[in-house]
Amino acid sequence: MGEFDFSIIIKSLPILWSGLLLSLQLFGIALAGGIFFGTLLALARLSSFKLLSYPAAGFVNLIRSIPFIMAIFWFYFLTPVLMQKLTGQQGEAVGPFTSAIVAFIMVESAYYSEIIRAGIQSVPRGQPWAAYALGLNYWQAMGFVVLPQAFRNMIPIMLTQAIILFQDTSLVYVVGLKDFLGAASKAGQLTGRIVELYIFVAIVFLVICFGASKLVKYIQVHMDPTRQRALKKDVTLNGPGWAPGGGI
């Protein structure tokens, strides 16, 4: 059994910290982009225009049936090519970070669109009908009536997916980015003490993700942002001691 030397972590803190910052940055941008494009994808999938719904469904199912790493490789390869086509400039190199961001936004928008689609479908059909009956157009009905309710229903599952996304940011290791794990790996190569560094990374992830999942559970139970609270009131009304058929 080798000797442990955890002082190596103190020495490597600057590089680990910059790695963690890169992970958090990637996480934040991918989360915002994933939810934004995921919403558009979900609306496209639920659209009655087949020209919109079929490509959206195709994209989501395609991304969901290949490994995350395969998707990262795809966008890592495609982003510079597409950028060149769009800007028309030759040799304009797109950095690995930009490519990774594009890959993460694309993949997360596919995952989030499934969650958001379920959320939209959980809103009773009468809501958009009522909105249309009041004279609201499609974007008004979606933006002011359906989506606010859908997002409230989805908050716990979206937060859970955010925790998974945070864990998945470690996959950018495969394209050589110095995220938290990549930084630990780099520091390990420099110091020759990979064991302590990987254990440290595992513990930090465990603490963050476990803490976050407990927080999500707390939000779910205590701050219940959904209409469940109203439903629970009904349940207590319907509980023991209340005769069915009584009341009003």
Binding site: M1, L62, F73, W74, F77, D168, I194
Partner: protein
């Protein structure tokens, strides 16, 4: 787009690039299926333990799930492959890294059995925590009366699980378990970080050798899609075959 290069002779292994792709597929399947066996058996046990009315086993099972769920798979992969041999007694560590039976003699394998074992162990133990949650959810979805009725009939608790709860729960959770298998199948690509040349790794290797990145990624992607669709199709058949009459189909089929 030109896929003819797939039939050209690859620089090593005495086969074509298509052969490389197929050997990648073979390793993807071998890693996924071996890991699935571990995940299914261990996950079922832990899932059951999370529902039993005994404090200590439930605590152990919950701790297992929380630990394996909250560390990224890639980090776990490195823990098994790089860290584990260093923290076990050094003779065992050396044996794992060096003299452990080797696969290199086998066809298509450019890595050792230790790498394969680490990948399978990692994926299996990680997915076990996810399977455990599905098994627990399946058991908890059954009405409490089923357990009570079983106990009232004079069954012991293990008998209640064996004859009443599990036969129902396992049939209910076929759809989520199918997606867990597809997850392990996709997650097996993380094994490329420790040197397993599975499908994703092979497609990248081929693109590096031939500069036909688009074609090579397209082939790998199509293989993933075909397998995903096949698994979904087979599991639908299984689901219909074993459906509990009037129970699962209540979902509105």
């Amino acid at each position: 787009m030109d896929f003819k290069f797939l039939l050209e002779q690859a620089p090593s292994g005495g086969m074509t690039y298509l052969g490389w792709m197929m050997s990648g597929l073979m390793w993807t399947m071998l890693v996924s299926i071996s890991a699935w066996i571990i995940a299914f058996v261990l996950g079922s046990i832990i899932g059951v333990l999370r529902t039993v009315p005994l404090r200590i086993p439930r605590l152990i099972a919950t701790t297992y799930v929380e630990i394996f769920r909250n560390i990224p798979l890639l980090v776990q992969m490195f823990l098994w492959y790089f860290v584990m041999p260093e923290i076990v007694p050094s003779e065992l560590g050396d044996w794992l890294k060096g003299t452990y039976p080797n696969l290199i003699a086998l066809p298509f394998a450019q890595f050792s059995l230790w790498e394969f074992s680490a990948a399978v162990l990692c994926l299996g133990l990680y997915t076990a925590s996810r399977v455990a949650e599905q098994v627990r959810a399946g058991i908890e979805s059954l009405p409490k009366g089923q357990t009570n009725a079983g106990l009232a009939m004079g069954f012991t608790l293990p008998q209640v699980y064996k004859y009443v709860l599990l036969p129902m729960a396992f049939r209910i959770i076929i759809p989520p378990m199918t997606s867990e298998f597809l997850t392990i199948f996709k997650n097996s690509s993380t094994a490329l970080t420790i040197g397993i040349l599975e499908l994703t790794a092979q497609s990248r290797q081929i693109s590096e050798y031939t500069f036909r990145t688009f074609e090579s990624f397209t082939v790998a992607t199509l293989i993933y899609i075909v397998i995903t669709l096949t698994v979904i199709f087979i599991m639908r058949l299984v689901e219909n075959k074993v459906a509990v009459p009037g129970y699962v189909s209540q979902g509105g089929h």
